[in-house]
Symmetry: D2
Subunit: 477 residues, 4 copies
């Protein structure tokens, strides 16, 4: 069960007429909540007046009835959910970022991680700029604002700014008249377009956010594309397309995205099922039942079962009330940490040889506990199968893995890990295998750097952002 | 998807030595959270001093680190979660109820519903008693306290009190020296015993609460049994056993209990799978895929698939972040109510004939919306199958159905309901079928009054409890 | 500056027509807030339906706009503010207490302290009664409820109950049809009646609560009197009048009551001015300026100045933003505790010989700090004058002094105290003096037990209420 | 009773050794709370690491025990309290503002109001700067940061920035090594220096903040002076001194400052007493008692009484529990608005001819209500005396008067106002009189523009700041 986290989800709404665009943004953010649970924000454009509401917490906690009322109606809205709010920067880092500049207001929401944040910020500071956050969004806003002073349009300013950005970014930008959706040239994070029956355009990180709004999927935004939505409709700037190798993060398929999303033409659910199928070919085993670790191992288990012919079964009941507020129990009941969330279904697993499918092993502690619980519930054998290769390299594009020290696969062989987690056998999906799960997407269009170290950019200077965060620690407010 | 609710979950802990009994009670309540999400409370017995913490909200919200610290260590604890806090009675109704009487302190947690609450309360009031709540717990505590004045022991007082109670009740009672677990003579609600390796006894509504504590299941408490746990061990009073027809609520198997619990010898998961299997025999259909409505229809779908040979598949993705705090969106996006929680997996259902399994249809609105979503996602046919018979009679034993007016099955024929929800076909499990899901439990040991009107007691005078609640409305505090 | 506390303030409202009686009660409680800042509650009688809102905090915190809206309109209301919420009993102890008994609803608010609480409670428990609080209000409600079973009217039941009560109590009782105001036979605590121009009757602890409602003062309720207000007007039961020596607590004049109140015919402000005048005769001194310790020493200082001819001046500025939420600063700035609240006006006191007037010295630490601040601000001499005799005996009627150990006057001579607080001279008002401050009220009508040990009742068995509180500690909720 | 508001209070602390500087800043802010109650913030410099805590509310609400703990120890701290948080800018506007620039961190707290905010901001935006607030503090920080790129020191950068600022400002600036206190060249707002026995330097808006820290008053900061505090001690840059006409706001003496403060050599209390004395000469009347409206009219009443020989008395009791949380009662009890806060002391005023002293009349509604209450309490005559001239011109330097429409003195003659408020006579202090209250401060050193229209700067373009605020409205977060 992966316990690293994707950084953000973004949404933009452009309606034909003034209406409850904040509600649309809110529902979309609820559907994107799996991409970030730490803060939420929505900005509404009501005839050029921007209203903004942001706070820490889930979308459903932040967007109270009063907040939605205060946001009011408008023609456009942008919204953002994020994981990994920088503790030192506090609430200053919550997006969307709204810029009230005399050249025109601008609201911006971003998903991604720049690798040249430091050199860009330093350049700005040398001109006297003041930064209030350590977020990419502020640096990107600064570049766009600066270019807007001379550019013929906001989209032209964005295009010029993109020429200076390195790394991953996915933007939804709102001006007084336009909604602009931008996917970084590498296409590391997903971004798609939809349209409602009433003509309202929606741009969102994943199609599951379109579904909940009753919007039809139109298409993915192309890597490097700038989509401009105005009253005249949708236009596209493709200057930055095809300028970089396209590198969609493979973990979007393995773990980040919601199974009901279709990204770059590939169903996430089917990609996961396919991973399970491949796994069954690569690591077959004689067993009585295939079970998945909820929720991320379920699809893979279905695939493994389908390809192997071993029956699929419900192996665990997940306690759906254990959320972010759960307090870890005292020392002597620490083991309950996993057990309180997952309880094996003894009636199903007792006396059986179990194939246990999960999406990844990060530190190994959770896997060990799950194997132990299965055995205690009566499983006679537990064969662990992982729908991705060993995770051995840090990610610089938004996946929150601090260092190799936390990665079990950097320190142990597969056999040692099997022993540590107490499984009877352990099989990881091969690198070749994982590159094939997203077919018909060409395998070279996937970023698999965390498995093979083949990064699509230069890495950033190490822990450079930490440096900026250290200058100031907000302890509240 | 049932949207009626079981009233409560109870737990009691008796340790060999002073220790973190509140943590045990807390973890157990987390596992019983599905039985009630509106309030939570724990009382700790620390060498005769009782400490109590209660509040509205989920166990994980109420039992903050500070609250657990304040509860401190002890030898015994009792805990309670409840649904359906009476709005008029407010927080006064939260359990456990603690009685600080000179004959000895007593903490009491109850799951059930008395049918002679009114006559008991009237009798007390005629003697000058003052009631602070409209809960059964207070009337039961009053009876026990009164009997304690003359009885040789608390368990004797409880036994005498039981002679005056009619209806359903399941008690965990803590005195300064004893933990007493009582299951009403009809056995309408479950109650079981477990023991940890260190000798700590646990009594809980369902075995899933034992699992999370690492306690082994010992046995179910018998209907009518009074189990007394002291330093000398476990003794049992069986005076009230076999005095009433045993009538375990069949909805415990269909909907209330957690699938990983085993009640009166029957796995809840297996009972639900069996219901699906029966349903496939009673209402077969030619189709391509069986899917369950999460979460309550999943087990039934597995059973239907297994018995019919039609493949089982994941039909929906459930948004796990939509909890109690979710604000219904504005008027024009009302339909999103179901959709925000459940999104069909188009990649799975498109172009398929679907068997859709759910546990019940109460008002029909949710079912209609789910069928509509499936069709929109590309399902060519939708065949609805319900793992219980039509719900046509009110329950007097704790299931919160106000009146027949809310029950769709009271107003329409099955064919009319099929038409209303827009399904291609609709099949309910038969009365005979539902009585067989819990084998080897004899079919006559199940209460199926909500289906067949065969109540195990006289019904209470209608809306009698309302009468008492009306006398005072607490609007806060 | 006294830092002991009076227990409570009560109010009752009886309007001619349905209207915002909760608002009247609320405004009255705001005016009585000095009598208790720990909790607040209001019960409204709306055509026989009782609505109740209570919580911890100031009236202005508890009675939010939403709370007042929820309380709604009615014909009658009773309200209560209290100090000294029992930490162990928690919010259960907040008044008014509302009894929803079949003989009729009853809401009750009490100010006082019974000395036979223990024997009454024991008697009830012997009959099987359950107590939810350790408050006198619950015992009194129990007695009234029991008597109501046979009494011809609620007022008759109250009268019978009064025959069993010993100690101090002051009740406002609301039934479905009547508002009943009761002052205990000793008249230890004040209670008065007023009427608004629209005929609304108001009963309140002090007349300052009438003023804010625009109600005219009608009269004090007599010690022992039961005033019954109905649609037919005001009737009075005097059975319990003149049965006990009348003993108004002299600290109502010295400290508890608000200076703008008139109690039993005596202006509190004038009584305090008179105390200052007497003090000037008993302890004259050559000085340049008389200043009072805000707020309780101001009136006495005006009296001392007037009688001595020494000019009165503002000696201190009080920080009006330091309320209950103030966090004591860290160890090394502890001294700021007093200084943060009171800062001497150097421009006024520099180079002057100061007479410093306060109402009492309890532990002496505050007085020492104030004298030190005055000297630091430039005062050349500080002569402390106290408008009451040394406080040497515990109070059993509602003044929160735990034991003699906390009373500086029990341990030291006046000269030793003068030395401890660092004053140049120290003078207490004499016992004879304090008995004369409330003229024309006969001196024997005042309870001065805290000064002379002459208690109007037998003292209660020591720390008896503690015993009951110990049985259960509520740590929240 | 003035109901306009001064904008802010500032404090800076520089200790010899690492210690609880946040506690010192906190206590100082508590003493400055009268200058602003809407938000509070403290930044601590702990060996170059800056920690910041800010929030809306009183200092005692914002600086919880946890917040002070999180701020931790350090060598320096700056703090800020403010009134008039811009609703549109929300919490972004809370100070201190902390700048984490590569040229060095900087925390800044400001009291004042620039008149060239608009032209400065426009100039910055033309260079591409992004503003996050509409506060002067951000523009000033921008100027300082820009100058720091080339200036030899932060103080030199501040000096250069001051050359570009017009209007009122009073800064406390903290760098990694220095604490810098700056008073704008006009000296419109106060700023003073103090030192504790342990050598800790303190800069604060008023000396009352020094007192509470046990710091000795050193001197006022001169208008235009830059005081630099380092480990080497205190140095001063006087380049901007004597460059502008000195113009201390006379309302600091009349209303804003605390009576126990001494500003530019003048005791605020004595200035107010003197205003009362002058008033007695300018508007004598035959009367029995002089009373002040609490709290702002008390000192003036003492002066009037002293000069006229009419006795001074306590006329009102102020309800000290009515704070910011007070909810205005319903329509039909609206009049209670003033009465709930102030109740006349009937025992004192009955049958008397009263001189009623207040500091100002803004809209007249409060004065009318107070006069009415006095008459109802038995006063036979009420002669209103105001310790300042009629307020007829808007203030551009931080006093929150939106427009002349709200000023009663702009619309009516004195005789008409007397009639409106129902007084028997009405007298305002003359312009000449008010200019003399601060002696020995030369009368030309006071800004009296609100009375005589003689502004020390050009007024800003009207409602210019509104323009910027309108670009974005934060509705939360």
């Amino acid at each position: 069960m992966a316990d690293f986290h994707e950084e953000c989800g973004v949404i933009g709404v452009f309606a034909k007429q003034t209406g409850p665009v904040a509600h649309d943004a809110y529902l979309g953010l609820c559907a994107l909540q799996h991409r970030g649970q730490d803060s939420c924000g929505i900005a509404v454009n009501d005839q050029g007046l921007f209203r903004l509401h942001t706070d820490t917490g889930l979308a459903s906690e932040v967007m109270t009835e009063g907040a939605l009322l205060a946001l009011g109606e408008g023609r456009m809205a942008v919204g953002h959910v994020r994981y990994g709010l920088d503790e030192k920067a506090g609430r200053m880092d919550i997006q969307p970022l709204v810029i009230a500049h005399r050249k025109g207001r601008l609201a911006l929401a971003n998903n991604g991680s720049l690798v040249n944040y430091g050199s860009l910020r330093d350049r700005f500071e040398d001109e006297g700029f003041i930064f209030h956050t350590t977020s990419d969004a502020e640096v990107i806003s600064g570049l766009i604002t600066k270019e807007r002073l001379t550019a013929p349009s906001t989209e032209a300013a964005i295009s010029r700014a993109m020429g200076q950005l390195e790394g991953s970014y996915t933007l939804v930008v709102m001006t007084t008249k336009k909604l602009i959706a931008v996917r970084g040239p590498m296409g590391l994070r997903p971004l798609c377009l939809g349209v409602k029956e009433d003509g309202t355009y929606v741009a969102a990180s994943e199609p599951c956010a379109l579904d909940v709004l009753g919007a039809s999927f139109v298409r993915d935004v192309e890597p490097g594309e700038i989509v401009v939505i105005t009253d005249e409709g949708l236009t596209s700037i493709t200057t930055h397309c095809q300028t970089h190798k396209q590198s969609l993060c493979v973990f979007e398929y393995i773990y980040f995205a919601r199974p009901d999303s279709v990204i770059d033409g590939v169903s996430v659910h089917e990609a996961r099922v396919r991973a399970g199928e491949f796994l069954s070919k690569e690591h077959p085993v004689e067993a009585d039942l295939v079970v998945g670790v909820p929720d991320s191992g379920i699809d893979g288990a279905i695939g493994y079962a389908r390809a192997s012919g071993i029956p699929y079964g419900l192996g665990f009941i997940k306690n759906k009330y254990i959320g972010r507020t759960f307090i870890k129990p005292a020392q002597n009941t620490r083991k309950a940490g996993v057990h309180i969330k997952l309880n094996p279904l003894s009636a199903v697993v007792r006396g059986k040889r179990i194939v246990l499918v999960d999406d990844s092993i990060v530190r190994g502690t959770t896997s060990r506990e799950i194997v132990r619980l299965l055995r205690k519930a009566g499983a006679t054998e537990v064969h662990m199968r992982i729908t991705s290769p060993p995770f051995i390299n840090p990610c610089y594009y938004g996946t929150d893995i601090k260092s190799r020290e936390h990665l079990i696969a950097c320190k142990y062989t597969t056999e040692e890990i099997r022993d540590l987690i107490g499984a009877d056998s352990l099989g990881y999906l091969s690198l070749e295998g994982v590159k094939g799960i997203a077919k018909p997407l060409p395998r070279e269009r996937l970023c698999t750097a965390c498995f093979d170290g083949s990064y699509p950019t230069h890495p950033p200077r190490v822990s450079q952002r930490e440096k900026y965060a250290q200058r100031l620690m907000r302890v509240g407010g």
